[in-house]
Symmetry: C2
Subunit: 425 residues, 2 copies
């Protein structure tokens, strides 16, 4: 008998799932050998349903009616946000229904509670679509790399940021200009804060860190820096040094602690992640048994996200009879590592008055804090404009370079703008 | 209770599986929540076992003893080749054991028979490691893309060929020179035919074509061309035109037929597959719901392959209680498409006497067969050396361009060497 599917929310993603379940039912049967049937859709805005084929499908304005429909065995929560999504998911789990969601914000904020609820009710909570859209990264980390310790994970997890940074890189444009164009083209939300301030990436990073290291991770403790301070100048100087700037989620295990952070990063131009352009996502994982792997695809969008949601539905159908898999396993409780302890190379751009001795003073102050310089660019500027001094440091400790830069930024006779500091992969 | 694992063959891959199962048992438990225990190893060459930790593990010289060991629930066949691997696998399936194998040649040759045997005995036959090593491509096609029709698949599936072509591209070396060095460094087998003639890629291509399109595919009907005729000159001219040469497995569905082929291909320099270098593998899939995805990693090697083998073991452990999944589903029976019907662009390199009128005669003969030229390179050569005329055609039908080239190659007053023809992605 076909597995009954209920979809809460018929917006962009929900609509894509509804359409695909209806149109591709024979494909799913051919490829996966399972019968899945859309039986119920709950949507408050009935206008959203107008274009959809809902032949033989119950339609409710009320999610509870869907959750309590005995024909529904799997509830897909596709409305996003924390509430009422959380309430619907908990009710569905408590009613003994499996749940599939694309809701990264909710999973990132409530993973332990939802894990406990799912386990207590012997049902599954699946969320492949919550991280990197159609890229099967949850499956890769949890199943394909099951025997691996993940040494490093570097992820481009937000299509909007990657789209903006790509256009800044290849079209030499300002951040604000590209953002406005991205909003007009529908590639960026209005307001765009969740994306450009890095929080959306942090949600996905939290989920991946938990899965890679079997540990709860507190979202609030993740170091997050968005791309709003990345300037056209930084992009151009980085390029001149052989790098592109990407917003990365970074996860590593260092001395029994978890290094989890989200920030703009200089990525070497010949690294595979540099080839992940425009709205695409990519995840690079360095693991101890498999070595380097990369996964690439669309991180958002109606159909790519639907593809991931349906892959979860198919997995649930195929696992029927086996014990439910918990969404997270908390075998460890690793503390997050302080960002000040980070060891790495830094791109630093000083904006200075064009006075004699400025470079010397900057170098002296960096040296005082033990920061040593690998390369330096200073170009001749018109007489009355500030000079840019761009440096790449040797490997150094984050707290040293930030303390040095703070002290240099205090020298207001030579520094005319807050110094830009970007970490290097 | 732990799932008992038996490993037949303790060579490169088998040894890697044995080592990882022993050293990473706690990791597997943490991440996957399953207990797997190596209980039996069968290996004729006892010297191969010397470096391995086999504490508490039964060791046999005889595979039958392993297959009949009641503690063994999953048999890993890691000896490769057709026989005796086929016999061991069939015996294990008949004995009600799940089987995990990395044996692409056997799967490519005997998939229907093995599928029937596995289904009849209600057990699983898993082969993630048979295609592209640690890249979870079987899982991606079968599970993650379960709702998708695959429009195109392009795969770099043989590390040896990719290593050779990469070094030819970036170090301007001859095929034979790089092959010798690759053999010395252990990146190429001796004899290397299975790799460089494209047959290993064809085995993997057969498996992926069957999975993507739920159809049996006859290995013998796949068009296969290796890399032995790719010269340093072709690599350099392709580069000049903005392409790199890769050995690709190509799978597409055209007018109800399957287009399945393996041959050297000019890949645009900014395509993601062009960034798959050295011994790495990469698979690019264009699917109707998910759109473009790429999967990258090591296609061979002791530990990367072990990672894939163990992912299959973990999947079997987690699916315990659910109906066994058949290795292949033959919902369709699609005929293979004749290569002569292929429509595409072609790189053509003529080696000619440096006579007046040669270019004109070539162009006339191409035109006679309806082949039109998009670009052409001819460089000035020393007086007594042959001239190279390199052309990129517009889109044309394969049979037209091959007929034209055959006719041109018959003109031995102007042509001094067989013309090189390479398809373009």
């Amino acid at each position: 008998m076909a597995l009954g599917i209920g979809v809460i929310g018929a917006g962009t993603v929900g609509g894509g799932v509804i359409q695909t379940l209806q149109s591709h039912r024979p494909v799913i049967l051919d490829k996966a050998g399972v019968e899945v049937a859309l039986v119920h859709v709950a949507e408050k805005n009935l206008a959203a349903l107008r274009e959809l084929d809902l032949d033989g499908v119950t339609v409710s304005e009320d999610a509870d009616a869907l959750i309590n429909d005995p024909k529904v065995r799997v509830v897909c929560e596709l409305i996003g946000g924390v509430e009422p999504a959380r309430t619907f998911i908990v009710k569905a789990l408590e009613a003994g229904k499996h749940v599939v969601t694309a809701n990264k914000m909710l999973i990132a904020k409530a993973a332990p509670e939802l894990t406990e609820t799912a386990a207590r009710n012997g049902v599954e909570l699946c969320f492949e679509a919550a991280v990197a859209g159609c890229i099967p990264i949850i499956k890769a980390v949890r199943e394909s790399l099951a025997s691996n310790q993940v040494r490093h994970l570097y992820g481009i997890l937000n299509g909007t940021c990657n789209y903006i940074l790509t256009r800044m890189t290849y079209e030499d444009k300002d951040f604000e200009e590209v953002l406005r164009e991205a909003q007009a083209a529908g590639f960026a939300e209005t307001p765009p804060d969740l994306d450009i301030e890095g929080h959306d990436t942090a949600h996905k990073c939290q989920i991946l860190a938990s899965l890679c290291h079997s540990t709860p991770v507190s979202l609030d403790e993740i170091y997050v820096e968005g791309i709003t301070n990345v300037s056209r100048l930084d992009v151009a100087y980085a390029n001149e040094m052989g790098y592109v700037i990407k917003l990365l989620a970074i996860i590593a295990r260092v001395d029994g602690e978890l290094d989890v952070r989200v920030h703009p990063t200089l990525v070497p131009g010949d690294h595979l992640l540099a080839s992940v352009k425009r709205e695409f996502n990519g995840v690079y994982i360095d693991a101890d048994i498999a070595d380097a792997t990369l996964y690439y695809g669309r991180g958002a969008g109606r159909f790519p996200t639907a593809s991931a949601v349906i892959s979860d539905i198919v997995d649930i159908a195929r696992r029927a009879g086996a014990p439910a898999q918990p969404p997270f396993r908390y075998s460890h409780h690793l503390p997050l590592r302080d960002i000040g302890l980070l060891c790495g190379r830094y791109y630093v751009r000083f904006t200075t008055r064009d006075h004699p001795g400025v470079l010397g003073r900057i170098c002296t102050l960096l040296g005082k804090h033990g920061v040593s310089i690998a390369s330096c660019i200073q170009k001749e500027e018109a007489d009355d404009t500030p000079a840019h001094i761009v440096m790449m440091t040797h490997e150094t400790v984050e707290s040293s370079v930030t303390t040095a830069v703070e002290e240099i930024d205090g020298q207001d006779d030579i520094i005319v703008e807050k110094t830009h500091l970007i970490r290097v992969l």
